[in-house]
Symmetry: C2
Subunit: 199 residues, 2 copies
Amino acid sequence: MKENVFNQEYEITKRDRCIQKNHNALVVWFTGLSSSGKSTLANELDKYLYSKGIHTYVLDGDNMRKGLNSDLLFSVEDRKENLRRIGHVASLFVDAGIVCLAAFIAPFSEDRNHLKEIIGYENFVEIFVDTPLKVCEERDVKGLYKKARKGEIKDFTGVNAPYEKPEKPDLIIDTSKESLNEAVLKIIGYINEKLQLEQ
Amino acid sequence: MKENVFNQEYEITKRDRCIQKNHNALVVWFTGLSSSGKSTLANELDKYLYSKGIHTYVLDGDNMRKGLNSDLLFSVEDRKENLRRIGHVASLFVDAGIVCLAAFIAPFSEDRNHLKEIIGYENFVEIFVDTPLKVCEERDVKGLYKKARKGEIKDFTGVNAPYEKPEKPDLIIDTSKESLNEAVLKIIGYINEKLQLEQ
């Protein structure tokens, strides 16, 4: 019955929603290892953008895995589906005129490319949080590296599952070398022009 | 590995996002038969709210079935999953401070109750678009009743599948009796107070 899904002509467009908010919509995606600083960066960027009157929303493992994707586990297939769904949700937020900050490991190039296709390359800013594994493991914010090393978690990115580095990310941030403040200013410097509404 | 999903403390809250937009977030759900006027009402309400500076977004079969839910068909199970996912997406929009207008048949009480649980009863406004089947079938905007009567579509709500009327909807609208303008004013009258931010 797929051919029976019809378009309703809605009159308020994405552009109208952007005009209302006075900025463009974007997805800023933080990819990198566990404990690399993705969520911390997303939170700090969120605070900054909010203070400037930008309408944002943050997607991360917390609000996705516990709600929409609570039926998914951590098999290769489920991780792919997890990201596919996140991509479509981010795309809806962009359509709603929102700057969507997404903090997910997304270790495979193929999945990240699929995300860009779903969201649109022109709407997608890829930030590679390239904090060295050693530093991430020392931080081990959630104690997951420890569990992975003990073999209690299998397929843990960086330990017993690969992380494919982005080939051409828009920005690279190493939180072991750059302060949070420096990193946020770098991101702002990059996205500022993209946020300007075309006249 | 579900127990390994952690909460990141994000500092910008739902309330902050509502303060930025200067109104509360809500889901306004239009339930009713095909061709009952759900999408038309959602579009008209969207235009009105937009003109008043309210930040809205519309979810309907078009943007859901073609993206996030493109893997789902029309079996009982898939329809249930379709609505579950829409519920979680609407819930994310509410968390982002947005007034989310949703236009979906949602024929079963059980599914609608599940939606209310996901989204939160306090955030959910249920509008029953109670246009008589006869009128819907005469309109047959998408030619689907014709196909269903010919047996080309099975399980078509109102023809060969049931529609369970909401027991206690917040509002009932019969578009064969009320003009679009009257209906929108009725909805506004109902949601106006809910949109006011508590001080």
